[in-house]
Subunit: 309 residues, 6 copies
C-alpha cells in the first residue's frame, strides 16, 4: 500500500484514509470530545520500529468491547494503518528520536435522530516522546507522591479499559504537582493499595522479589507484562499482589514502567527515600538492561543523551 | 456587538470569535478530546429566551475552579457570547422549536514543551432539543431502570463538576438500553441510594413530601433547584435526603428533572409501577404547571405537540 | 429398611418418619417459616440415581454448624433417609424425568417458655426438575443480567451456608425479570465482582482459562467443584478469582452451573453477546460432554428432548 | 361478621377464612418457608385492645410493595380480620395477659409450571406475650451487647421491610447469647453506628436530648414513632441521627422500644454501665409513664407483676 | 490551697500531688507509654487566664468514659489542680506569653498479677505556646495539604475521644511535611470528606455560610463550638455537614480553629488558592475579631508580634 | 562488653547505656507517651536463650522505617544490647521462668523550637512471662470472642508496624472482657475476616489444611512464620488467606500463636465449640510438639507446671 501524501507533513489515519495531520479536526459533537466516550492505545517505537504493536491492538479491542463500540476495522487493518502512519512520520523526526503511535476510536458524533446508528470516529496519529523533559528521571529517580484522591475502582469504570476519561488521574496530578512540580502521582485505591500513575505501573522490589499491583485495579501495561516476564526469565520471584504504603516505605527498590518510560527508577515515595537512596537499585538495573536488550536499543542511553549539559 | 456571519449558518463562539459551526474542529490533541479534561454547562431556551443562564454560568465557573482551568473570560463575557450565539441561531430553528446553548472549556492542547502554559479551548454552541423523540414520555411516564454499575462517588471525581468524563453514566445507559431500549438509567451510589441519570435528577413524592437525593452526590441541577423552590412555594414539605429503592418502590409519585425535560413523570422503576400507576400524579402535575408558569410557556404542550399522530 | 407407604403417593421424611407428602404441613410458628431460620441442600438424580449425595450432605452439615442447629441425625442417617425418599418417589415420575431430593432442617417451633429447648424440624422431600421450562436455554444460551441489588457479603450472612433466607437473591430476580422475563440474574458483590445467581454459579472462559468467582463469596456449588475438576482433568488452566463486568464483556465463553443445570451456556450478559455469539463455545462444549460422561447420562439431550416442537 | 368456630380453640385467619389454629400448616413448598419470601407485622393488645393497628397494617403494605407481593386483600379487610382473630382469641388468655396479633403474607407455593401465577399465602394469628420471661428487665435494665456481625445494610435488603429473612439478626443473637444468655443483641451497621435488635429500636438520652438511629437503617418501629412524638410532646429535643459506641458509652440514659416492650430501660452496653448505673433514668421514666397513659394501662406494672417472688 | 514548691521551677500535678516537673518521669511499663492507653485534654490561657476550662474537662471525662478509665478524681478536683498548675507556672513565662495546661490520664502501669487492679496515672502539666513559629500563618494563611492517608473512622476508634493514639494523624503529617515542610495536613475520611488536622478543625465559608465537618468524625473542638456560636451570633448561617475537596476548591474562604490557634486563615488547599487569594477573607476577619473580644485579648496581635522583623 | 551494674537489680538499656530499671522514667513530653509515636518488638527466651532475636530486630527496623524514625543504632548494636539485658536479667528470675526482652524506640521528646531535630528515645527492657495466669489455656483451650469493634485497616495505620498505638485492640479487649473476663478478643476486619488478637495470630485447621489470615492485615508474627514453616515441614498444606466466621465455626481445630504463647489451642469461638470440642486437636498437637522441639524445650510443660493444684 502506498500513500501520495506530502512527505514533509505528519499524517494521520482518519475515518478510513490517510490525511495530513493539519487538516484534521474532531467534530464538536463527537462523543469522544463531549463525553470522553472513546478508547485509545499507544505503542512506542525504538529506532523507528514499533514494539509489541499486536499486543497493544489486542488490548485496544478489549477496551472497545467493554464500551460496546464497533470500530468497523478488524485488528489486522488497525495494525496495518498504524504501521503506515509510523512509516510515513518517523523519518520526519530529528535523528535519534522516537515516537508514540496512537489509535483513538470514539463512538462518533452524537446522533440527533431517534434510532440513528452512530458511526465511530477512528484516528491513528503519532507524536514525539519528550526525552529531554524526562532525562533527569533516569539519573535521579522519580519522586512519587500519592495524592489524597484515590483511583476509581473497577466497579464504577474499569481501569483495564484505556479510555478518554482521565480526570480521576488528572485530579491526582493536579494535587501533587501544585505542591511539588517535579513529583509524579501514583494513586492509591480505596483500600490504600498502590494502583497506577497516569499511564504508568509501579513495581516494588523487596528481598529480591519483584511485585506489582494486581491486574484488576490498573491498566495492565504491556511493558508491565514484559517486565514480569523479564524478571521471571532472570530467575527472580514475581508476584501480582496488593501493595500498600508500608510496602513502599520498606521496599529495597521501586520503579515505574510505561510504554515510553520502559523501566525508570523511583527515588522517593512521599518524600521518603527508597532503600539505600541510590538509583537504580541492582534489581532495577538488571531489568533495565534486559529491557534494552529486548527492545534492541539502549533506551536509557537515549534518555540520558538528553540531559542538560 | 454585531456579527457579520452568514445568517443561514449556525454559528459558534470558538476561542475568542464567532464562526460558522461548520468551520470548527477540535484539535486532535486537545485534552478535552484525549482525556475528557474539560467542563461544560447547558442552558435551554423557551421560545428563544434563555432560562437561568446566569446560574448555569456560575455553576460552570465552579466546575472550572474544581479542575483548576482558567477560561480566560469572565462570567459576564461568557454570558454575553452565549446570548450572541442564541440570538443568531434560534431564528434558524423551525417554528415552535427550542434549543440548548452550551459552553465547553477544555484545558487546551496537550503541551509538548516542558513548562509550556496550556491555552484553554473555549467553545459556545447551540443545538435543537429532540422534542419528537421524547414526546411519549410525557404521556406514558419514563421507565427508569437502575443499572448494576453504581455512580462514581465524590471522592474519586465530584459529580458536582459537570465535566467531559461521562463514561460511568454511559456504562449505566448501555447496560439498561441493551436490555430495554426505552428505559432511562438512574444510577445508585455505593450505599444503594439513588443518584442521577445522564443529565437528570430524580424526585420522589410520598405522603405529600417532595424529596430528591442530596446535593453532594449528584450534579445539582438548576432545574432541580427551581423545582425545590416551586414545591416550597406551593406549601409542600421538601427534603434533600438519602433515598433508596425501598423509597422508590413505596413512593406515591416520581419524576425526573433536567434543563430540557423540566419536570417529566416517571411511570415505572425497575418494572414496578409507581403509586397508582397513572402519570402524572397530582403533585407532579402541580409542579409541571408551576414550572410552565415560571418559564412563561407550556413546555408540556410543546412536547406533546410532537406526539406521533 | 422398608416403608409401608402408599406406592402412588409421593412421600417425605418428616421429623423421624416417612409420611405421604400430602399429610405434612409446617407449623405456623416454625422458625423456618417465620424467620427463614433453616438450612437445606439439594441433590439431583440422573436416571433415578443420586449424584454426589455425600458431598451435598457434608455441605448441609456445615450449614447447620454455621447456624448452630443440631439436626438430631448424623450424616449417614440423613443420607439413608434421602435415598429412601428417592427410591420411593422416583418411580412415580413419568419416564425420562429426574428430580431433586432436598433436606430441610429448621431450628424448630419458636419456644414460648423460657429456656425451653427447641426441637429441630427435619424434612426430606423430592420434586421434579422442570426440563421443559429450561430446554431453550441449552439451545440459545442463558441471558444473564446483573441487577442493581448486590449480593449480601459474607460478613452479614455467609453465602456459603445454604439457608432459607433468599430474599436478597429474590430481589435481584424481581428487578431483572420485571424488565426481561427470560433473563436470569447474577448478582455483583459490593466490589462489582460477579457472585452467583439464585442457585447457580457462573464461569468465564478467556484464552482457554476457566475461571469462577472465589469460594468465600458464593455458595460453593458441588457442580462448581465437579466442573473445576473436570476442567483440570482436561488440561485446562483453572482459577477461582475476582471477576468483574470487564471480564464478562471481554470473555470468549461463559456458562452457569447448578445441581440441576449441570453446565449450561450463557449467551448474553446485560444484552452484550459473549464471544462470537454462538453457544456453546468450544470449551463449554468440552465440559458439557465431560459432565455427561461423569453423570452417566447425556443430560443435555435430556433437556433438549423437551424443546417445543 | 360472626364466626362459628369452637370458642375454646385459638383461631387463625388462613387464606380467606377463620380456622382453628391446630388445623393449619404451611405447605412444604411455600416460598415463605423455603426462602423466607414473606412479610409480616405485629400489633400488641393492651387489655385486649389493639394499639395502632392501622399504622402497623400500613407498614405491612409497604413491605408487600417492596417485595412486589399482592396479598389479594385491601388494608381495611386485613384490619377487620385481624380484629376478628383478636376478639376470638384474647378471651382465651388467662386474666391480665395480652398478646400479639400478626399478619403474615408469603408469595405462596413455588410454582412448578412456567408462567403459573403464584397465589399468596395469608395468615393472621395471635399468641401470648411472655411477660414472666421479661419481668426482670424492667427492674434491672436490659444488658445490651453489640455482636461482631453487623446489620445488613439497606442496599442488600432494606431493614424497613419486615420480612421472614431474620438470619442476620439471629446470627447476632447466637453470638451474644452463647456468651451471655441474658444479653440482648443490638447490631451495629458497617459504619459502626447502632441499628436495631431483633424486633427492637434503641434510644439514647444525653443532656436531655432523646436520639435514635436514622429510619433508613432500621425497621421504623411504630413504638419508636410514638416515643419520638411523646418526647416532643414533653418538650424534649429529639433527633434521628447516626449514633455509635462513643455515644452509647457516654450517654446518660438508654432504652429499647418495641411493640411488646413499649419502653424498657437499658442497664449496660457491652458490660459498661449506662449513666449513673440506676434504671430507669429520669427521662426514660417520663417516657414510660407517658406511654402507659397513652396505652390506657400501666404496662410496666403488668410486666413487674410477673417478677418471681 | 497553697503549695510550697520552688517558685522558679515549673510544676506538675502527678498522681495526687504537685511536684517539680524535672522530678517526674513516666514508668516504663505505663500503658500510656507502651500502648498510648491514655486520654488528655488541653486548655490555653489568654494573659494567664484559662478559657473554657470546664468544657475541656467535661470532654476529658467523656474520653475517660469511652476508654473505661476511672481517674480517681472528680471533674471539680481536676479543674482545681489544673488552675494550681497554671497559677504557679504562668508567672514563669516571659511577658506577653501564654501556655497550654494539659491533663493526661493513663490506665496506669501494666499489671503483672492476675486480677490486679490498675492504678491510673494522672498528670497535669503546662507548657508555652510557640507563637514565633506560627506568626507567619496569620499573615500569609496556612497552606493545607490533604495527605493520602485517611483519618481513622469512628468505628475503629472514635476521634471524639482525645487519646494518646496519634499515629494516624502523624502519618498524615509525615507525608505532607516531607513534601512541603510548611504545609499543615488535614485528613480526609474514607468517603473523601474533610475531617481534621492534628489538633485542629477546618471551616469553609461559601456565599456567607460557615460550614465545618460533622461532629462524629472529628474531635469536637471547644474552639470549634465557640466559633459556631460566634458565627450564629453574627447572624451568619452555620452548618455541620459533609464537606469534600469540591467544597474546598470552590470555597470563598477557609480557616482552621484550635485551642491555641483560635481562628487562623487558610491560604491554599493542595496548592490551589482559596477564594480571591487574600487572607483573611471578610467573614474570617469578623470571626477573628469576635473571638478576640470573647477571649478578652487580641490574640492575632499576640501572634503577629512574633513575626520576624 | 561488661557492665558494672548491681547484680540484684533488673537493668535496662536507655538512650545509650545500661542502667538499673528503677532509675529510668520516660520524659513527660516524650512523643512515645503523648502520641504513642513509637515502635517496639518483643522476643522471648526459652531457658534463658532468646529465640529468633535477629528476625524480631529486622521487623523492628521495618516498623521504624514505616514511621520514619532513625534509632541511631544499627541492627547489630540493637541485638547486642538486647542480649546484654537478657544476660543480666534472666538469672534474676526464679528457676524455670522465662521472659520477654523488648526494644522500644520513640521519636523522642516533642521539640518546642522550630526546626529542632528530635532525638529518639531508645529503651531495651525485659520482664517475666505470666505462666501461672495462662496455664489453664493449655488445658482447656482459649475462649475467643470477636468484638464488634473491627481492626483498623492498613490504609489508616498498617498493622504490620508494631507501634505504641494499641487502643483499637484494647477497645476490643474491653468489650470482650467486661462480658466474659476469661475470653480473648480476636478482631474482625471491615470485610468480616479474622485478623488478630492483642499480640496474637489466629490459625484454623480444616480437612488437614492449616490456614491463617493474610499478612497485610495483621502483625506478621515471627511465631506465625515459624508455625507456617513447621506445618509445611510436616507435609501439611498451608495457606495465608481470608478467613471469616463461617470458616471458624466449621473448622476442625483452631489455635493462637504469639511470641510467648508459641502455639496454644482455641476451645471456643463466640461460645461455639471448635471441632469435636476437645483440645488440642491432632494437627495442633503435632505443631505444639514440633515447636517445642525447635525451641529446645517443652514449652507446654513449662506452662502446665503452673496449673493451680
Amino acid at each position: 500500500m502506498s500513500t501520495q501524501l506530502p512527505a514533509h507533513d505528519s499524517i494521520v489515519f482518519f475515518n478510513g484514509s490517510l490525511m495530513p495531520e493539519k487538516d484534521v479536526g474532531i467534530p464538536i459533537r463527537d462523543r469522544g470530545f463531549i463525553y470522553g466516550d472513546a478508547v485509545f492505545d499507544a505503542t512506542r517505537t525504538f529506532g523507528g520500529r514499533t514494539f509489541r504493536l499486536k499486543e497493544h491492538i489486542q488490548r485496544l479491542y478489549n477496551s472497545l468491547r467493554y464500551l460496546r463500540i464497533d470500530p468497523g476495522l478488524d485488528p489486522a487493518e488497525m495494525e496495518r494503518w498504524s504501521l503506515e502512519v509510523v512509516n510515513h512520520n518517523h523519518p520526519l523526526l530529528p535523528p535519534g528520536q522516537d515516537m508514540w503511535v496512537m489509535q483513538r476510536i470514539s463512538r462518533g458524533v452524537e446522533s440527533s435522530e431517534p434510532g440513528a446508528a452512530e458511526q465511530p470516529t477512528v484516528l491513528i496519529e503519532s507524536h514525539a516522546i519528550p526525552f529531554a523533559r524526562r532525562a533527569t528521571l533516569y539519573r535521579d529517580g522519580i519522586s512519587v507522591v500519592t495524592p489524597s484522591v484515590p483511583r476509581i475502582p473497577p466497579r464504577f469504570l474499569s481501569p483495564r479499559a484505556k479510555t478518554h476519561n482521565y480526570l480521576n488521574l488528572i485530579m491526582g496530578d493536579l494535587e501533587v504537582r501544585d505542591t511539588d512540580p517535579n513529583a509524579w502521582s501514583v494513586l492509591l485505591d480505596e483500600a490504600g493499595n498502590l494502583t497506577e500513575g497516569r499511564g504508568s505501573n509501579i513495581f516494588l522490589v523487596k528481598d529480591g522479589t519483584v511485585t506489582t499491583p494486581r491486574g484488576q485495579f490498573v491498566l495492565e501495561g504491556i511493558t508491565r507484562g514484559v517486565v514480569l516476564d523479564l524478571a521471571a526469565g532472570l530467575g527472580l520471584p514475581v508476584a501480582e499482589t496488593d501493595l500498600d504504603l508500608y510496602d513502599a516505605y520498606t521496599a529495597d527498590e521501586a520503579f515505574l514502567t510505561s510504554t515510553s518510560l520502559c523501566v525508570c527508577p523511583i527515588g522517593k515515595v512521599n518524600g521518603a527515600a527508597i532503600g539505600q537512596g541510590t538509583v537504580p537499585g541492582p534489581v532495577t538495573q538488571q531489568l533495565m538492561t534486559a529491557f534494552s536488550d529486548l527492545a534492541g536499543m539502549d533506551y536509557v542511553e537515549q534518555y540520558l543523551a538528553h540531559l542538560p549539559s
